[in-house]
Symmetry: C2
Subunit: 308 residues, 2 copies
């Protein structure tokens, strides 16, 4: 599909792209770049690409498609570094979870002779690094583009085709709306998860070992998101500040009202609040974005031989 694809950043997303590109034969040559020599060496051991360099500028030479998969706080620096080396007509895209800030950081550096199309595959796990990636990461997940005015339709079509062949569904959105949507479906959940795990970790009345031992009664569900890459999430918080603060404010207001219902023993209000949320999960399962197995199907994996 492409002669040469350059992957700038080879963490969970970059290394998953490398694997699906190889499996689906989407490029003749894949060049890989990351600033960390250790990570680059590991990517090479894993045989994720055809050429390897700690210089992003070196990696993007002659590439028809450049995919920047770095923490959003680094996208400006990467754009500045690769700009002079970009081939004319190349498509440059990213995978960042914040789009307004990435556009503000990258587009000023993008030469007129390339197609810069901001993108965001809504896919990931709590693991990070080149070993964490797998070819199926994007399967049945959404990839959202936030194209700038005047984007070449042919370039957008080609990039869409690429993500479709990676297994994704495609969507297009205004950057501000994307950042608002992600603040509620992704950023707030991660921040809340980090926070509750932190709260539990700080307790004196309840020991840490008790929190660990009894975590299956609910707490452990939060520890997955709270095990995500700290650098990535620090940058997301710093680069989607307004939308995140808006969602945090709404969450806190709602929590105060729930807390009041508990303090005043308002059983009817609690019952109503706890009832309507069931339908949301049902819809997510029906939309094919979740499996319809109790406990995320975890029981089955813990004791396969013991299933009733």
């Amino acid at each position: 599909m492409f002669e040469k694809i350059a992957l700038v950043g080879i963490g969970l997303i970059g290394s998953s792209l490398a694997r699906v590109i190889a499996r689906e034969k989407l490029a003749r040559h894949v060049s890989i770049s990351t600033r960390s020599p250790q990570t680059l060496a590991r990517a090479q051991e894993l045989g994720l690409g055809h050429s390897y360099s700690t210089s992003a500028a070196e990696a993007v030479k002659d590439a028809d498609l450049v995919i920047v998969s770095v923490p959003v706080g680094s996208s400006g620096a990467v754009a500045e570094e690769i700009a002079p080396a970009l081939k004319s007509g190349a498509i440059v895209t990213d995978v960042g979870s914040t789009k307004g800030s990435v556009i503000a950081q990258m587009s000023p550096h993008m030469p007129a002779h390339v197609h810069f199309i901001p993108g965001h595959p809504l896919a990931g796990t709590e693991k990070s690094g080149p070993d964490a990636g797998f070819a199926d990461l994007f399967q049945n997940r959404w990839c959202i583009f936030t194209p700038l005015p005047g984007t070449d339709p042919a370039a957008l079509a080609k990039l869409s085709e690429f993500w479709l062949r990676c297994g994704s569904n495609i969507d297009t959105m205004d950057p501000d709306h994307h950042d608002m949507v992600l603040a509620i479906v992704s950023h707030l959940p991660h921040i809340i998860a980090y926070n509750i795990v932190g709260t539990a970790d700080d307790l004196q009345t309840v020991t840490k070992s008790e929190v660990i031992k009894y975590s299956a009664s609910g707490f452990r569900d939060f520890t997955r998101l709270a095990a995500s890459d700290p650098t990535m999430w620090r940058d997301v918080c710093l680069h989607n500040k307004d939308a995140i603060l808006e969602m945090l404010a709404r969450f806190s207001e709602d929590l105060a009202s729930l807390q009041r219902a508990i303090r005043w023993g308002d059983g009817e209000k609690l019952f109503d609040m706890f009832t309507r949320t069931r339908a949301v999960r049902r819809s997510i399962i029906d939309a094919g974005q979740e499996i319809d197995a109790p406990d995320f199907g975890r029981q089955a994996m813990v004791h396969p031989e013991k299933q009733a």
Copy 2:
């Protein structure tokens, strides 16, 4: 192990007990009771026991072991109803998620000639009702007893043996400490999950369909706990109020501080907060209370044929 076990309440916990009792041959006769004729009929269709009655008093006659598995708000009424029918020397236990309140509700009704031993198996899924149960629910989970002063050691030993044969690990705790521990490992997580799903459900700027479509980016993890039985959770909130309000206060303080770090762009503080929480999940996996597969192993179940 017992001649006759009476199960008062046949929801997720009661019906899981019925299944493991049958599999492990822990009783010659299992009598099942629930107030709802429909639920009782369903339990009978499923062949969960040997005798069925909508009267708890009827069901507990001649039982050596009585297990009350009802929402904690109903435990007082159940205790009052079964008290006159209890066999001398019988062991009476419960599975409630709040122990101080259950003891206060049940013990006044318990005759001197029975052994009342409050218990709490830390096991469950987001599903409820007699169809949701499975024999493996208690496997490798903890069952916590909060025995009253002067509890007969022989009776406690026999009840412990029962839960061990159901697959549980055993612990003993002071009721107040139990309620504090559960407030953080179970009650707060459920309340927070219900709250964030409610917040997302209320948004106007982001449509409900967008929340559903893009939920795999984090939000869906919260929807599992938020799909739990509303009656059970209403009662938990009403019956462990003090411990829950204490944990909610700590959570909100921590969230305010995290929110401040976001507002002021304190990247170092955010990075530190997001780093220490990783270790907690690692410990839970090492303790055998979670599986060591990315995304709760969900990917594997969504596309088994496509795994990289």
